[in-house]
Amino acid sequence: MNWSKYKNIATNGVLKNNPIFRLVLGTCPTLALTGSALNAFGMGLAVTFILTLSNTFISLLRKVIPDEVRIPAYVLIIATLVTIIRMLLEKYIPVLFESFGVYLPLIVVNCIILGRAEGFANKNPIFDSALDGFFTGIGCTLAMGLMGIVREFLGAGSFFGMQLMDFRIEFFTSAAGAFFVYGMFIAIFNAAYKAIENKINKKNFALHLEELSIKENN
């Protein structure tokens, strides 16, 4: 068991290469569906489900698929998975099916999924790829969910549909508000990430200096 490798995959997917805030991929559903927290989480989970399965299948077939036609093959796999999840949602969770609308079939052309297929699944073993898909999806779900909660609270005064406040600033649930909140989130996430990274670097540097001084004393 190689725990540090798995830990690395997890932190990569959720924090370091967070698809929504760090890489700015899959922006269309992020902007369109974060007006309510429920839709945002639902979309995030749908993406997680498809990403995990598509990474698994693509990794499984990576030695069978010829290199020249790999992109159409990936698109076919992803389109099949999206068709399946669309049927399942229509049957069992019609509320989400209705509110996703055109963005449900558009998961096929979501850059995150094709990006992970091309960047990770086609050169890594099955378990690692599935894990990478899962954690990238979780990073996506958390980012979208957070945006959904903030936008719904400010724009409608509610939390997952529960009315908490009497005020509402409709700007935040409108199209313009989506761009604004997304931009602010990217800025805050990047600033926080940089601050933490600097701290870790400083700590490592201090440790390094200490080691040097010990060596000199000896």
Partner: protein, 201 residues
């Protein structure tokens, strides 16, 4: 004539593909650094969107619906689009090398553009279209018209943003706001401007 004008205003401004419906955001952010690139991408997307509507609408209405194969639409559409993009790329390469030089690099990117698959999915949904352009019954003519003017709306938005971005690059702003965040704020202000067109008609 009235309906025609209404469709144009609704498709280009009031329900702009990028700023109101959030379709095709990736090229909107990725290729808006210079005005020339933005224009090339806009023209390529408009071309593909128009031809996509011309092909996918009959396929869905006259082949998939009679055979009761509606659930295959996603797979069929994405393959039609991929084949179409490849075909157009070859045709342009063969007949107009100059145009290919200008537009060639954008064409492969269009296969995974949300706006193209989005327009194919939207025009087959009569209820959504009644909302978007206000026609009661969709037809092939309307769908092609919508594909074309949707593409024009995409081009307008991406060119406007590229103009703004050439200015925002030199602004004195906090470091963490540079790049994507300030572009998003610029897009936010543009979206507010486009919102006004909702009150026409």
């Amino acid at each position: 004539m009235g309906t025609f004008l209404m469709i144009i205003i609704m498709a280009v401004f009031a329900n702009n593909f990028i700023l109101v419906q959030f379709l095709g955001i990736c090229p909107f952010l990725g290729l808006s650094k210079s005005r020339a690139n933005a224009f090339g991408m806009g023209v390529a997307v408009t071309l593909i969107m128009t031809i996509t509507c011309l092909i996918t609408y009959p396929i869905y209405m006259y082949i998939l619906v009679p055979l009761k194969l509606e659930y295959l639409e996603i797979i069929v559409f994405i393959f039609v689009i991929a084949a179409l993009v490849q075909m157009i790329e070859n045709i342009i390469k063969r007949f107009s090398p100059a145009l290919y030089k200008g537009m060639g690099i954008y064409l492969p990117l269009i296969t995974t553009n949300c706006a193209v698959l989005g327009v194919a999915e939207l025009v087959i949904d009569s209820a959504a279209m009644a909302n978007l352009i206000g026609v009661p019954q969709m037809s092939l003519g309307y769908s092609v018209l919508y594909g074309f003017f949707g593409g024009v709306g995409f081009t307008v938005a991406i060119i406007l943003l590229s103009g703004l971005r050439e200015k925002t690059d030199y602004l004195d702003i906090p470091k963490s706001l540079k790049g994507f965040p300030i572009t998003m704020v610029a897009a936010c202000i543009m979206a507010m401007g486009f919102y006004v067109f909702n009150f026409i008609g």
